[in-house]
């Protein structure tokens, strides 16, 4: 039995303890009345007239954050902390994924779902792991719904796909209302309070990285991640598009994204592309890397490599 698995157990125990603490907090908190009128009405009006994120003053953002926290309280009965974490100076994030390491466990997927408060039980998953045929990189031969007893399956390799944080993002160009844009740290974010839900960005994305809230997101209260960020994992409304944002709530504080932390194989390498001594720069300089659909001119900041 390898240590690799004992580490996973450790993580699941931690997960369990975290969930238990969350449940405790939820029970301790007083049940908020979801009544119409009063602060609910004020919040609805406030949301309706809320400006674009990039045009709001600090006070307006503080008001918006108050509404977000109150809405989470009403909807999930959880006290979340929503911050407006700014991008760091001289940082542009990049990701490198070692496909000779990836075993197709999908631990990254489930960690992402929990970390980013994704709708459970619908199809809201930012990462999709493709089971590929050895000897081929044709995505049309990939299997998305593989579910064998154990992975890796002989004759297959695994290719996780998520938002590539393109440097020339076609989704940003497509949005008719500028509800999505690239931040100075290279992350393509969405203002969930500005998006009109036309889904043109989903059409424009060549990586199937954008996802739509077809219904009101449903998350058990005890599973809510209370550490949230405005342009990140705060609870989203129905009818808007969302996507991987490299865990802004973590990475802008210097922490690793949840998928990197969850990966038991060490296949995921995250870091600052502007730092010549960073791990990711070493990978780009020393490994033979490729990017998905590079020929489309999207300039992804997500690389794949092999040992």
């Amino acid at each position: 039995m390898s240590n690799l698995q004992s580490e996973t157990i450790d993580q699941s125990r931690r997960r369990f303890l975290g969930a238990a603490a969350g449940a405790g907090a939820a029970v301790a908190g007083t049940a908020a009345a979801p009544a119409w009128g009063g602060s609910t009405l004020m919040d609805t009006m406030g949301s309706f007239f809320q400006n674009h994120y990039q045009r709001m003053s600090d006070e307006e953002i503080a008001d918006a954050i108050g509404r977000i926290e109150r809405r989470a309280k009403r909807r999930y009965d959880v006290d979340i902390i929503c911050r407006d974490q700014p991008p760091q100076e001289d940082v542009v994030f990049g990701y490198a994924l070692n496909i000779s390491k990836c075993q197709g466990y999908r631990d990254c997927v489930s960690a992402c779902v929990r970390e980013n408060n994704l709708d459970r039980g619908s199809q809201m998953e930012y990462i999709r792991v493709l089971e590929m045929e050895e000897g081929s990189r044709n995505l049309e031969h990939s299997e998305h719904y593989y579910d064998p007893d154990t992975v890796p399956v002989e004759g297959k390799y695994y290719l996780p796909v998520q938002c590539m944080q393109c440097d020339n993002p076609p989704c940003v160009k497509a949005c008719p209302v500028e509800a999505t844009w690239m931040e100075p740290d290279g992350i393509v974010v969405v203002d969930y309070d500005w998006c009109i839900g036309c889904r043109y960005c989903m059409t424009a994305c060549p990586y199937q990285a954008r996802h739509f809230n077809w219904r009101e997101p449903q998350i058990p209260s005890e599973d809510i991640n209370r550490n949230t960020n405005y342009l990140g994992n705060r609870p989203r409304p129905r009818g808007v598009v969302e996507k991987c944002h490299f865990c802004t709530q973590r990475t802008r504080e210097g922490r690793q994204p949840a998928c990197q932390e969850a990966c038991p194989t060490g296949a995921r390498i995250f870091g600052n592309l502007l730092d010549p001594s960073s791990e990711i720069r070493y990978v780009l300089a020393n490994k033979k890397v490729f990017r998905l659909k590079e020929e489309l001119g999207t300039e992804p900041k997500f690389w794949y490599f092999t040992d």
């Binding site: 309706f48 674009h52 045009r55 199809q123 999709r128 493709l130 044709n138 995505l139 049309e140 031969h141 990939s142 998305h144 796909v161 076609p170 160009k173 497509a174 949005c175 008719p176 209302v177 500028e178 509800a179 500005w194 998006c195 009109i196 839900g197 036309c198 889904r199 043109y200 989903m202 059409t203 424009a204 994305c205 060549p206 990586y207 199937q208 954008r210 996802h211 739509f212 809230n213 077809w214 219904r215 009101e216 409304p237 129905r238 009818g239 808007v240 598009v241 659909k293 489309l296 001119g297 999207t298």
Partner: protein, 412 residues
């Protein structure tokens, strides 16, 4: 004077016989059903539709693409009427423009019902909102459709107003707008084609031929509809519909259908002679992928309809028979609706950019909402045509309004 014009015109819209009211009532009923279905969709969210992350646009956007083509086809009456001064066509050009107004409105509605957050539509406005112009092709589409709507409201408004006052419209005053409208008509459909063809990740749409194909199919479905509508109007009103107009439209439609079928062949050759991964959507559309082929029967039916229509239209003696011409019009209209609607929008999403084959079937909610919007378009057109004909026939005019004589409508 202007106020009495509007008052009289609106009043004329709601004067008519029993059959006219039955027709209006029927449309209102369908519209009502559509509103109820839309209410359901609003309360549940777009989960009430059959769309998914894989196929994120469906029946609504399919109808949108088709209706923009109908709207653009009004230019086929505008050009011969105002540029070549065809008297016969000039007599029906206002009806064509009414059709354009109805089609543009319906197209816009199809986009609005497709929105996840229609409450935020104001975000599209300049200044109040943030309008991503000229970057976003959808922003372009909003601009060209709004502009086209305004042009097609303004020009007929002016001409009708002159008729109402029994004056000859000042040709020099409105001709520049007519020229603008001509180019604008082509632009609305080209921009709508670019809306799709600009997506590099969707090889099915990412072809330069898309713009020309859109125009060609628009010039089939548009005249087909106008030919039918004009004949109906000729029967239910005493407005004279010259046979030469039908002939001209049929000829345009013939050539356009020949060209658009040629385009289909060109695409099929390029996709299948040396089949690449980029042909996957076409393969799905015509033959299915991974055993999933729900669109194939539809697209083959559409192809068959268009082929029968082109045979009828191409052989002169057949086309000259009104009954066969009408059959060809119905076949071509339905054929293009399938080919350019569901047969065009949905395969763009299948397989997904990651190679997944996930099919799409519209739900009852989508179908009823769409029927409601079509009924709305028919209602708008009926009312506009009603007023237009009343004014053109002189039943409604400033003189009569002053003479207190209640105009007699001959329609049934």
């Amino acid at each position: 004077m202007l106020l009495s014009f509007i008052r009289d015109a609106v009043a004329s819209m709601f004067r008519g016989g029993r059959r006219y009211w039955l027709w209006l009532g029927f449309l209102a009923l369908v519209l009502l059903a559509g509103l109820v279905a839309y209410g359901l969709q609003l309360s549940q969210g777009l989960i009430a539709t059959g769309m998914s992350d894989q196929v994120s646009w469906g029946f609504y956007i399919s109808n949108f693409a088709f209706l923009v083509g109908i709207a653009a086809a009004a230019v086929l009456l505008v050009i011969p009427a105002y540029v070549f001064h065809r008297k016969d066509i000039k007599s029906v050009v206002l009806i064509g423009e009414g059709l354009a107004v109805a089609a543009v409105l319906a197209a816009m509605l199809f986009v609005i019902v497709d929105l996840g957050r229609p409450d935020r539509i104001l975000h599209m406005l300049p200044v109040i909102g943030r309008f991503n112009f000229p970057q976003s092709m959808l922003a372009w589409d909003v601009v060209v459709l709004s502009g086209y709507l305004l042009l097609n409201l303004a020009i007929p408004f002016y001409v009708h107003y002159c008729h109402y006052r029994q004056r000859e419209p000042n040709f020099a005053a409105y001709f520049p707008f007519v020229v603008l409208a001509m180019f604008w008509a082509i632009s609305i459909h080209t921009v709508t084609a670019f809306l799709f063809s600009s997506n590099t990740g969707r090889p099915f749409w990412h072809v330069a031929l898309l713009g020309p194909r859109f125009i060609a199919t628009a010039f089939v479905s548009g005249p087909a509809l106008i030919i039918i509508v004009l004949q109906v109007l000729g029967r239910v009103t005493r407005y004279p519909i010259p046979a030469s107009v039908i002939d001209t439209l049929a000829l345009i439609m013939t050539v356009a259908l020949q060209i658009s079928l040629f385009f289909v062949g060109v695409e099929l050759f390029t996709d299948f002679y040396n089949e690449t991964a980029h042909a996957a959507s076409v393969r799905y559309l015509y033959f299915g992928l991974d055993g999933l082929a729900s669109l194939a029967p539809w697209v083959w039916t559409a192809l068959l309809m268009n082929l029968v229509a082109v045979v009828i239209l191409t052989i002169n003696p057949l086309r000259r028979q009104l009954r066969l011409l009408n059959l060809a019009c119905l076949l071509a209209f339905a054929g293009i609706w399938i080919e350019k609607g569901m047969g065009f929008v949905v395969p763009g999403f299948i397989p997904t950019p990651l190679g997944e084959v996930f099919e799409y079937t519209p739900t009852a909610v989508e179908l009823i909402v769409s029927a409601g919007i079509w009924a709305f378009a028919a209602l708008v057109f009926t009312l506009l045509a009603k007023a237009s004909i009343a004014i053109s026939l002189g039943d409604v005019s400033a003189e009569r309004a002053e003479g207190e004589g209640s105009p007699v409508m001959a329609s049934g």
